[in-house]
Subunit: 407 residues, 2 copies
């Protein structure tokens, strides 16, 4: 009997951990006696549609596998292709089916965030409808940590660690002048404030800074913000504010100049940028003190040099578990983490029907929102701290530069 083959793809935005999940899927696929060959889809579902499929047998090599694990971004490349509903674009599904037939794919793993889980859901429904035995499993990945039903998402811990450490350094940097100043750090996170909460870790752990933390879960009032700055200036010279790119006013309008253009990406999300610059100009105009905005930008999602060992280990484990789950017969599910305890930190890996996950967003809960409240700060710290633990030793080349996996 000819064994079915495995296909894996990556989709959405990069993270420091998404290749660790890829390494996990590949390692488990190669190790399994029930799986034939292992293939990678170059540029995710777009690569499947274009028959851009790559043999990955070389990943039997343990050293190469480890190098892949600690390499940021996506070794297989990514895409932001959204599949239409099955009935409105049957041709695309038939094209995918033909490629799956060509490579005898019985197991498909898609590593990505919210939009990628939509693809997992639709593909699974298609294969169910045509009664084709292809197991489709989603492997979560997003620095935004906004997938529901899972305690957290791979990639978040490393981004959280980068932000916490960087904000801590910026706090020191901005503290040196005896001149009143405001430093605004604009953090990623469209709908949920998890990354901004992580950027607030120095405060959650008992520090006074960052002085201001603005999450999209709480409506943002410019006047209250200015008032808070004036009050803070009575006791500190150097105010640090960490602000989510997704903060909105009481009417639900994004704070940030560029959003006024109303442009949206192909998933219909409003294009965000400029919150920091916007607030910088506001403070400059109204308060008139020294003010600087810092867009932390891509660095927060690709800083492999500051990755969390816990994050990379878990990302690999959830990739391995996905293959086992598919071999057990599951399909149309996303792998999840369930937290068993904070002290000591303990998680279980499980899976959950994808239909109840795709296109939903996990927000920071009310119990962690009020950072003036010590029990909120403690809860948030208990949640975040285990995810950032452990440094990842980088492999260096002969020049002392980090070495990365390149396909």
């Amino acid at each position: 009997m000819v064994l079915k083959n495995l296909l894996v793809g990556q989709s959405g935005g990069p993270s420091a951990a998404i290749n660790a999940s890829l390494a996990g899927v590949l390692a488990e696929g190669i190790a399994s006696e029930k799986i034939g060959k292992v293939y990678g889809a170059v540029n995710g579902i777009s690569g499947v549609l274009a028959d851009h499929i790559q043999e990955m047998d070389m990943m039997e090599n343990e050293e190469l596998l480890h190098l892949l694990k600690i390499t940021p971004a996506m070794a297989l490349g990514s895409c932001r292709h959204k599949l239409a509903e099955i009935d409105s674009d049957p041709e695309s599904y038939q094209k995918i089916e033909a490629v799956f037939d060509k490579y005898n794919i019985g197991y498909f793993f898609y590593i990505g965030g919210n939009d990628s889980m939509d693809t997992v859901d639709k593909l699974n429904r298609y294969f169910c409808r045509i009664k084709k035995d292809v197991k489709v499993i989603g492997v979560p990945k997003t620095i935004d940590n906004d997938l529901v039903m899972t305690d957290h998402t791979p990639g978040f811990g490393s981004a959280a660690k980068y932000l916490a450490v960087t904000v801590d350094e910026i706090i020191r940097d901005t503290s040196i002048y005896a001149v009143k100043s405001v430093t605004i750090m604009e953090i990623m996170g469209r709908d949920s404030g998890w990354l901004t909460l992580a950027a607030a870790l120095p405060k959650l752990l008992g520090g006074s800074k960052p002085d201001i933390v603005a999450l999209p879960e709480v409506s943002f009032d410019e006047n209250a913000f200015l008032e808070q700055i004036n009050t803070l200036f009575q006791t500190t010279n150097n105010i640090v504010a960490v602000v989510s790119e997704g903060i909105r006013d009481q009417h639900g309008n994004y704070i940030g100049e560029d959003t006024k253009s109303g442009s949206t990406d192909i998933f219909g999300h409003q294009y965000l940028s400029g919150v920091g610059k916007n607030l910088e100009q506001l403070i400059h105009a109204i308060i008139g003190c020294k003010v600087r905005s810092i867009e932390v930008n891509l660095m927060q999602r690709c800083a492999a040099h500051l990755a969390s060992q816990t994050d990379l280990d878990e990302a690999e484990q959830i990739g391995r578990a996905a293959v086992k789950r598919a071999l057990d017969g599951a399909s149309g599910e996303m792998m999840i983490f369930r937290r068993v305890s904070d002290h000591p930190y303990q998680i279980e890996i499980d899976s959950y029907p994808i239909g109840q996950i795709a296109n939903k967003a996990a927000m920071v809960p009310d119990t962690m929102l009020d950072l003036d409240n010590s029990s909120c700060r403690e809860k948030a710290a208990d949640y975040l701290l285990p995810l950032i633990q452990g440094d990842v030793p980088q492999i260096k080349d002969e020049n002392g530069m980090p070495k990365f996996f390149i396909l």
Copy 2:
């Protein structure tokens, strides 16, 4: 006989290495039998003028000294105070003299960049003129690496390492989509392109990226830049450009919208910002492809988590050497590094009359400017690589967060 005391101050912008020089000065001062007490000036020369002087005897503690060495920014705080010429503001000099008398200061060390060396020069001339036996020595520090007469400046190596590693990660991050895109990274460096050259290390070491490197030493032509992008798009999808904040057109005008305001800082430097955004808008308007600009901002000067061990060690050594030099009777000099060889890397520490250093800028030499030329790339790599070597183990607190020295 009552021994003279030591006073040390920090000035200008922060770096990851300036506290290592402070640790060196303090350690050597405490160890010397010829020096009485060691004092720190809080917020540099402004602190001296305000009699804000702090005893630093607690730095006898080796552990504390090490923690100081690996802490970014300035433990003593900084200032951007420029002393007027002696004859036009004698009162300030008399005030400084009175504070020096009060604390019986015989040795003054000022750790800083170009503008700080101006202060060293003036103070030394003042004490010479009034025939007062105070040794004044400058300890170089600037991430910009633009001090003349020294092979390089403490702080530059760590910033260079941060930039090289970060650009390498960004190259991976931007490579994942099969869509044409330009990513512009705006790098610090007002007059000289050393930091941007360091950001180009992945290219200097044989990579194809960053695709475009724009230093202030070469006049910038927007049309040639756009043409280069169109040419590059014939062979690559994802263009990465590293661009100095200080690039200017053929008429010497800064590229960057905010500079059009003509505002200047108190040293008369034009205020810079917006080069990246400016080029982003240009590409968006003329080429119309996906484009993003990243201002690397403060992170490049305070990222202690990615400091160069070589840089911190040398910063400490040059601080120690400054104290020895003063005890040998020198004054009105800045400490310098002289490179003995690249392979193996070897430097000597010496000193040089400050009058020939202050208010001059060291540029990237012609021999390293043409990065299309392999011998230029090799020369630049030979110069840069030794400076970024060695990782600095951070001290972690019970939460796994880096621990810093706080005065």
